[in-house]
Amino acid sequence: MAKRKIIVSSNVYTAILALAFLAVLATATFVACQCGTQYGWSSLFQIVQTGR
């Protein structure tokens, strides 16, 4: 009997890439939210200065 070759469609890999992209996006959002709430939303785009 000849060996059968399993072939996965390319949509599965797209889905895996999408999942990875969503994970990265969610992580970035979470990190941004944490940074904004803890150090101010201005700290997203500049270095936080000491309040002397």
């Binding site: 072939i7 996965v8 469609s9 390319s10 890999y13 895996i16 890439l17 999942l19 990875a20 992209f21 994970a23 990265v24 969610a26 992580t27 979470f30 990190v31 944490q34 803890q38 150090y39 101010g40 936080v48 000491t50 309040g51």
Partner: protein, 289 residues
Amino acid sequence: MGILSTLTKILVVLLSLFAIFLCSMMVSYVGSATNYKALYESEKLARQAVQAENFSLNDRYNEQVAKTKELENKKELELQSLQERNNQLASNLQKTERLSQEYQSRAESWKGVMTGLEQSVASMLESLKLTREQLEKARAQNIKDQKELNQITAKLNEKFVELQRLEAHRKMLIEQKTDLEKQVTDLTNTKGPVSLGSVTQIPGQKAQPAPTITASEIQGLVTEINQSLVTLSVGTADGVKEGMTFHITRGSEFLCDVKVTDVDVNKCAGVLEMVQQRPKVGDTAAIGL
């Protein structure tokens, strides 16, 4: 179907798994990370509070230091004054102790003197008592002698008055005798001897008594005044007797009475009674008013 090669597929899967792993690591790290800003703020507030407390403590410290210095100066001055006072008190105490010893020695000497004085006073009191007793006896004797002397003086005055009367009578008789002898001589020369009349008093015939002065006629003057004792110018020769009372007058004004206590020949003395006014020398003294 053969768009993606096998290597690409493997890389896609591995990249996705690695991305998911990194994301999870990132999430876990960010989730557990310390909020340094909040920590910084709290530390900053704590630091400010500590600084404020430090400033206030510094102020209080400076204030306390100033107060302490002031108190130190004050206490130092008080200490100096107390030391001076202590020295003065110590010197005073020494002086006082010296004086106390001196006074104690004086008191001891005075005690001895007082003991001697007490003994001498006791002996003097004894002698005074004896002297008083002797004085009382002497006074009683003096009163007795005075009474006897008064009686003798009164008798002597009576005798003296009688003697004066007899002397006057003798002189009168001598004069009568002289006159009669002269008459006899004249008669003898002219007519011869004549019978002589009786020139002497016939025995049995009473001699005419000398004129007597009644008590109500006695009148004299005040000659001397000595406190309550008054001397009058009349005496036993005028008929004054001891115990008589003279009324002293000045013009028609009654002054006082004088009771005669001592009588002499020409004067008498007495004490004042019923004094209305003090008499003076020259006032009139009479038995009857």
